[in-house]
């Protein structure tokens, strides 16, 4: 959680310093949900399709910080090599597919990864998870994907972070059911609700959902209630979020809640947490420094092909723009 | 046999539910058939009596095949709107008469017979026969292909005007060109000099315009008298050059150049002079002829002509002229139709002087005089006969007072 927050604060700062190519999208306020999911998954066995606000989950799942800074800063050494940016990065070979911007689209992809494992006879004990927001539950892709996963009874966990706003659109313009978790019943999948600002609750509920899926209980859907504590992206100040939403229970910062929970339950002392923060800040700074010194993509070195197959008779359709 | 599904070509009769003589009702399933996709029933469109059954159980029939016939009353046909067999036959006849093969072919795949389709053998691509231009980038209609081949060979439109075209609308094809060139190979030929090609190019480009030539006789005696007393002696052509320039200053647009909807006026009265050299003509330009006296022009003129003959002109020497003077009289010719350069509208030519009796009104008798033809060729888009006449008469007039030149 802390790693995600500190890294994202740094990204925000780099964005404001003009160092970042493209946009920056933060998961501020969603770290408890995202990180507990990432922690409940086992890299190398499970699949995790993060979405826009899942830095904490990515880190918890095992994504190194350098993957993030390289992608944001456009280093050619990053997983996307400058061909795609920011939160669209992934490591499909390590069980973490790269999201596309079209919401809900990753649900069926994770289902397919699990389906492959079933066909290969290695599905037992494996889970696939993806995160989406309240807005994505309105898409056809979400419906189709969750329905398909339910039909195939795949161990898929869909965590819906209901952060109350899809960009600027509030819940009442997004769905008409009283609670999104009602949809789970309609799909025939397990449904859970959780306070997304409460780390311990998330550990318990999301952990339980992952366990059920892992044990053969079919798809599970967790709806976490929280508030996005940033704009849609760093270009957006979120001024449309009413003041009442910021001060009500779900407007609280999950990081602060988590710190308090750690101290109260004697998991860590305040001093230890400060020490963690310093250590993480240092790691983040090093990842940023390294990525900044690395080469950016060179249009002359690009092969400008979108296919892995080389067709001997196929001529380039037109000259590369930089030739 | 009805069309029982997309992409269905045929169906097999599984069971005949009726026999000849049976009474059938509308929408009754009377024949059970199996397609590649499903088993289904063939229904009747109206009430009637089975009069004939052609379908046999276990046999496949293509879509559109006749499976059997019903005997139906006229009233039933009216009630159900079903076409009678006679009506269908009649329509078939009329359709095939009016629409012909067009109709028959419009649904090609229905017309395919049951013979197994033979896949065509693969043909190995190769460019055979004609030398096809492949490396070039770059009469009437000349296609890009023809143009590319002509560019390959350095051939111009004018060169192919002698070829009888066999292409669409009589146009000359690459094949025609190749045949013509093969034919020419049976004639003796030699390589044209660069000078010849340069003149050819200039004349070809100039000839794209509507050129007209007018002329009048001039008397050279005063001019020759005047010349006799000069030192150094100006050439006859130089007199013409000077008179031409002065006349043009009075009518500058006559030498204008038409580009689109604009007449471009002379910027400076710089006039070229045609000098015959080996295998061609060059045209050095004498600058600002209107502003220099004949006397001053002599050395400049002689230098240009001398250098022209020795092929020592620079490119700049031949640039920027607005008109040209040519003295073909030096070849003993008395008349001609000179052609202006492509970038000029006018050319003034003069033939050889000839001794002639000329009527003198003063003494009322024929007197011997030296007469020559003065000719002006002009671009008729810019100048008309009247304008050309005014200019030519003025030149002639100026030549009668050589001391003023």
């Amino acid at each position: 959680m802390l790693r995600g927050r500190i890294l994202e604060n740094k990204l925000s700062s780099l964005y404001k310093a003009g160092k970042i190519v493209g946009g920056v999208y933060l998961g501020r306020g969603q770290e408890a949900v995202s990180a507990t999911l990432g922690t409940a998954l086992i890299q190398g066995t499970d699949f995790f399709a993060p979405l826009i606000r899942d830095q904490a989950g990515r880190t918890a799942f095992g994504e190194p910080l350098i993957d993030c800074t390289r992608t944001y800063l456009g280093s050619v050494k990053g997983p996307m090599r400058g061909r795609d940016g920011n939160i669209h990065r992934g490591r499909p070979d390590l069980g973490m597919p790269a999201m596309i911007s079209h919401l809900g689209a990753q649900v069926s992809v994770v289902a397919g990864m699990l389906f492959a494992k079933r066909l290969q006879g290695t599905l037992a004990g494996r889970v696939g998870a993806t995160c989406i927001g309240d807005g994505a539950t309105s898409t056809g892709a979400f419906h189709e994907g969750l329905n398909l996963a339910a039909i195939e009874r795949l161990p898929l966990v869909v965590v819906v972070a209901n952060n109350q706003f899809a960009y600027s659109t509030p819940n009442d313009r997004q769905f008409a059911c009283a609670d999104l978790v009602e949809k789970a019943r309609g799909y025939g999948v397990g449904g859970f609700s959780v306070d997304g600002t409460d780390m311990l609750a998330c550990v318990s509920v999301i952990g339980e959902a992952v366990r059920r899926a892992r044990e053969g209980g079919g798809p599970q859907m967790v709806v976490a209630r929280l508030l996005r504590l940033s704009g849609h992206g760093e270009h957006d100040d979120g001024s449309y979020v009413p003041a009442e939403a910021r001060v009500d229970h779900y407007g609280q910062d999950c990081i602060e809640v988590a710190m308090q929970q750690l101290i109260e339950n004697h998991f860590a002392t305040a001093e230890e947490i400060v020490a963690w923060q310093d250590q993480i800040a240092d790691e983040v700074q090093r990842a940023v420094a390294q990525a900044q010194q690395e080469p950016v993509p060179d249009p002359y070195q690009e092969d400008w092909t979108a296919l892995s197959t080389r067709f001997p008779l196929d001529q380039p359709i037109s000259q590369p723009i930089f030739s | 046999m009805p069309q029982l599904g997309e992409s269905i070509a045929e169906a097999t009769i599984i069971r005949l539910g009726v026999k000849v003589g049976d009474v059938v009702r509308t929408d009754q399933e009377i024949i059970e058939v199996e397609t590649n996709k499903a088993v289904m029933g063939v229904t009747t469109l109206c009430d009637g009596v089975v009069s004939e059954l052609r379908a046999v159980e276990g046999v496949s029939y293509s879509v559109g095949s006749l499976l059997g016939l019903l005997e139906v009353t006229e009233a039933e046909l009216v009630r159900t709107g079903v076409e009678s067999l006679e009506a269908i036959d009649e329509r078939r006849v009329t359709t095939s008469q009016t629409a012909g093969p067009a109709q028959a072919e419009s649904n090609l795949h229905f017309a395919l017979d049951d013979d197994a389709y033979e896949e065509a053998p693969a043909v190995v691509p190769s460019v055979k026969g004609l030398p096809v231009p492949t490396g070039v980038m770059g009469a009437h209609y000349i296609s890009p292909r023809m143009r590319a081949r002509m560019d390959d060979l350095g051939i111009r439109e004018a060169d192919i005007s002698a070829i009888a075209g066999t292409g669409a609308g009589g146009r000359v094809t690459v094949e025609d060109l190749e045949r013509f060139l093969d034919y020419l190979d049976t004639w003796p030929s030699s390589q044209a000099s660069p000078m010849r090609l340069a003149v050819a190019d200039a004349m070809r480009r100039s000839w794209t315009r509507p050129l007209a030539t007018v002329g009048l006789p001039i008397l050279l005696d005063r001019l020759l008298d005047h010349r006799r007393n000069q030192s150094p002696k100006p050439g006859l052509t130089l007199y013409l050059l000077r008179a031409f320039a002065l006349a043009l200053t009075e009518n500058p647009t006559t030498a204008g150049y038409l580009i689109g909807d604009k007449v471009v006026h002379p910027r400076s009265f710089d006039i070229g002079v045609a000098v015959q050299v080996e295998d061609g003509v060059v045209v050095p330009v004498v600058r600002k002829v209107d502003q220099k006296s004949l006397k001053d022009l002599v050395s400049e003129y002689d230098d240009l002509v001398d250098r022209a003959r020795r092929r020592r002109l620079t490119e700049g020497d031949c640039r920027g002229g607005i008109a040209t003077v040519t003295n073909f009289g030096t070849f003993g010719l008395t008349t001609g139709t000179p052609i202006p350069l492509p970038n000029e509208t006018l050319i003034l030519g003069v033939g050889a002087g000839v001794k002639k009796p000329v009527w003198s009104a003063q003494v009322e008798a024929f007197l011997p005089a030296t007469e020559a033809d003065l000719l002006l060729t002009f671009d008729h888009r810019v100048v008309d006969g009247g304008g050309a006449g005014v200019l030519l008469n003025r030149v002639s007039e100026l030549l009668q007072t050589p001391e003023a030149l």
Binding site: P79 | S7, V123, S143
Partner: protein
């Protein structure tokens, strides 16, 4: 004994299932029912747990296939009709097609699109989508016109590591028959000279190859020898074979069954004009379907798409230029 075009597609899938554990089939009604066109008839019985009925969720079907391909499978997805792939458009062009370029991991999935018109099929069961998919980088688009190509190109397509849009023509399913499947075949990306000629080149693909051959047969009586080029794959496009043919004939007509705005025929004409202008004796021509939805009534439908007749007319015009 003869083999139909759809037999060849079924046979190819059977061979793939038999020989490659990574292959599985996913599509609506394709398991015990055998598919709307019976292209998978009997396969579910022969290969239990390899052939699956899908929910009517075209988007999720492709998304699922992408996920399975990431994890090492080679899914073949049957769209019931090419027309319905528009519902899966996002997953095809944004997920599958961009994946290799973005992440370096290719997605070896094959989408079978029962394409093109048949009489009475109407606006939503007749579409030709190849041009739309060819427009997107990252997809291989195959359009077999013969029984043997239907067989070999499906095998070769599934063997590719990249996403393949396999456009099979519904009209050819049962009308097109061959005595047997040829043993030898051309690689993907190479066009075939179906019929040699010297006066004009017709570039066609899928069902239009047969219409073009019929048109060429008719023009023989007028002394015209028409060369017919079967593209086989519209992407990659074998421009070399097209240019070589135009070099022989000097005239080009591109024929396609898709809608007229842009598309494969426009690409062919553009490429030839760009790279082979000097080969042309006449302005290159295109002949496509009309710019309306595909009509339902067979009479309208037959006049909506190019026919041997309209191809002849276009060729006569081209030859008289």
């Amino acid at each position: 004994m003869s083999v139909t075009y759809i037999d060849a597609i079924r046979e190819a899938q059977e061979k793939l299932l038999r020989e490659d554990d990574r292959v599985f089939l996913y599509g609506q009604d394709i398991a015990t029912f055998g598919g709307a066109f019976k292209a998978t008839k009997g396969l579910a019985e022969k290969f239990p747990n390899r052939v699956f009925d899908a929910p009517i969720s075209e988007d999720a079907m492709i998304g699922m296939a992408v996920g399975a391909a990431i994890e090492g499978m080679r899914p073949i997805i049957e769209m019931q009709f090419a027309d319905f792939s528009s519902v899966a458009f996002n997953q095809i062009v944004n997920q599958a097609a961009t994946h290799f370029y973005r992440t370096g991991m290719p997605i070896p999935l094959t989408v079978r699109l029962p394409s093109g018109g048949t009489p009475g099929s109407g606006p939503f069961h007749s579409q030709s989508m190849e041009g739309i998919y060819a427009q997107y980088p990252g997809l291989v688009v195959l359009t077999p016109a013969t029984v043997s190509d239907a067989y070999h190109m499906l095998l070769d397509g599934v063997a590719l590591d990249d996403p393949v849009i396999y456009c099979e023509h519904k009209f050819l399913y049962r009308w097109l028959k061959a005595k047997s499947i040829n043993g030898d075949h051309l690689p993907i990306g190479q066009a075939r000279i179906t019929r040699p000629g010297k006066h004009a080149t017709v570039v066609a693909y899928s069902a239009m190859v047969h219409e073009a051959v019929r048109a060429a047969d008719r023009l023989v009586q007028d002394g015209w020898e028409i060369e017919v080029v079967d593209l086989r794959s519209v992407k990659p496009l074998d421009i070399d074979t097209i240019l070589a043919s135009v070099a022989r004939t000097g005239r080009l007509l591109a024929v396609g069954e898709a809608f007229p705005w842009g598309g494969v025929t426009a690409e062919v004409v553009a490429r030839v004009t760009e790279e082979g202008f000097h080969l042309l004796d006449a302005p290159p021509q295109r002949l496509n379907a009309r710019d309306t939805p595909v009509p339902y009534h067979p009479k309208l439908w037959a006049a909506h798409r190019p026919t041997p007749e309209s191809i002849c007319e276009a060729l006569r015009k081209l030859l008289s230029f």
